[in-house]
Amino acid sequence: MSSETTTKIPEAAAEPPPGTATPKKRAPQGHRRLLTRRDRLTLGLMAGVPTILHVALVWVTALASVALAFTTWDGIGFDSIKWVGLDNFRELFSNNPQFWPAVQHNVIWFVVLILIPTPFGLFLAVQLDKRIRFSRVYQTAFFLPVVVSMAVIGFVWQLVYNPDTGLINSLIGANEPGHYIDWIGDPDLNLWAILIAASWRHAGYMMILYLAGLKGVDPALREASALDGANEWQTFKNVVFPTLRPTNTVVLVVTIIEALRAFDLVFVFNKGAQGTELLSILVTNNIIGESSRIGYGSAIAVVLLVISLAVIIPYLIATFRKERRA
């Protein structure tokens, strides 16, 4: 890069013809002068290093993972990579008893998060926005689960649901032989049990997002609608909620991301046993550890990537279109 600058500067210096042309030439010259060699070097480093890291750690690995999805590899030496075409996907779609349940559970995860904790978070935000007493205390209490790591949440709830010594079974007397309610192992129950834990956290997260959105609503709008004789519900429905549109978009995206990346909570809770299989857990189980089915695990990861893209691309298109219009 430095050689580039050194060759260009003398050229530029030699160029200006005498006389009239000076005002025209001033602008580009000034532009060059703004960026000294050191500036360029700094800029190059500041942009270049992150770019290299980004390309190496995000793009190269993602593309490598996509390529590996069409191979089998046990992770030992590069010469053991074998090209198998679409075999991994065929195996995944037709033979893996955990794959379709996993896809289904990821979808359920999203639907439940968007239907229960999200409206509940909005409800909490609206209440807290009314400047009730101890509002900060409530805010902190509801937001606390979001601060705690997912792994810790899984650990705590797993104690609550423990079939023998857990809080719930002890309270309702379901820890005797013959009466067990197996919250963790029973595939009809365990996903819902975990979703309660996930919702517990998600509601607080949504509350904060909506609370921030509500603080941005112009009070004049409320006053105007009050003057027009609208009651509280009408004001919220027709005036406040529509102004929360940007927040809603963020909430939707955050919830989709939460549903797709759901992993830690379940992994700690019961390692994705039957009933709680998730795509992310299948990827982990196949790639990590001695099992090392790297090709097969990559195929699952590719499926997860495709689902993510199917969600993200329409969102990005919509956002860019809006920006262009504005």
Binding site: D74, G75, K271
Partner: protein, 438 residues
Amino acid sequence: MHHLSPSGRFALPSPSRRTLLRGMGGAAVLGAGIPLLSACGGSGTAADPKTVTLGSNASDAVPKKAFAEIYAAFKKQSGITVDVNTKDHNTFQEQINSYLQGTPDDVFNWFAGYRMQFFAAKKLATPIDEVWDKIGGNFPDAMKALSKGADGKYYFVPLYTYPWALFYRKSVFQQHGYTVPTTWDQLVALCKQMKKDGLVPVAFGDKDAWPALGTFDQINFRTNGYDFHVELMAGKASWTDAKVRKTFDHWAEILPYHQDGAVGRTWQDAAQTLVSKKAGMYLLGTFVAQQFTNQADADDLDFFAFPEIDPAYGQDTVEAPTDGFMLSKAPKSKASAVKLLQYLGTPEAEAIYLKADPSVVAASSKADTSSYTALQKKAYAMISGAKHLTQFMDRDSRPDFTSTVMQPALQKFVRDPKGIDSLLTSIERQKKTIFASG
């Protein structure tokens, strides 16, 4: 899955610490799975002939201290320093592929069986026949067979072992007048009687998904014999074979006498029902004794071999996972490493270890058994009297097969034994793909 019995034994009462660590280790491996990156790991110790580096998975306090005492004794005897590089037990296991491909330590902790032979076949370990020239006399034939790779060369030095069996409390059996069952019919009758007496006949917790593998092993080699069991584990016999179906029929017969809600229960919680005398029996490795923290309870603990199912096989097979050491592919100070391995194969080294950890028995037949507890003596007799030794399903078969196929499949069976036929078809289909992948 990964931490079979060995880690289970030393684990703290909370299983979840491991789970957390595994999660973290997991995250680390996501990157480390690529051999390129793994090359940065390992020890950078220069090739000092008086130092041997050793990769250890003994991260828990008791074994860590016990091993340290062995290395100290070795240094005193030979003047060679052992530079120990300890990793968390599960992380060690999860990273083993990339660890062995990078710059591993000279000597590393590992398990006997298929898992050992796998790395030997991949040329990630060095044959150690010269070690066995010296220590061969210390070990029974079954141990020698366990220490060889598929090519017939030695790759492994066993240190200790422990059997799986049915554990019970002497006082409970005395109180109800039970006798130890030696045949299948007696076992079923005993289960029925225990249920009548208000006990949980067989304690069971399969949340970690590996305990059910142990139950399958016992019933399968009693029903179909050692040879078929080995073929099945090696992926040669079919899971849709009528013989396998028979194993599951037997299991289904006693499954109603197992503690219900097993898939949500850890093995530690299941063991507590035996401690509190609510359960009659529990099928596990001797590390179950770790849950008996009260000395009086521990003295009350006893075990018996899984009863005979087919008289043709009797009780000739014992599941006895064995832990020991291997030599990595390119040791920096090979001569010293060989000396260390030779020392680890002596009865003295084993005696030092057993003094610190009394829940296991020495792999060597020459080890001093006079200081053994009653349980250790019984375990020792059981192992030395065995015609065949197995290691445990996930050490005897491909780890990818056991962890991604068998663990979920058996959890499913334990919950719903009726769907066995479609389950076996599914296992067989997945097995074919995995074993074909080389």
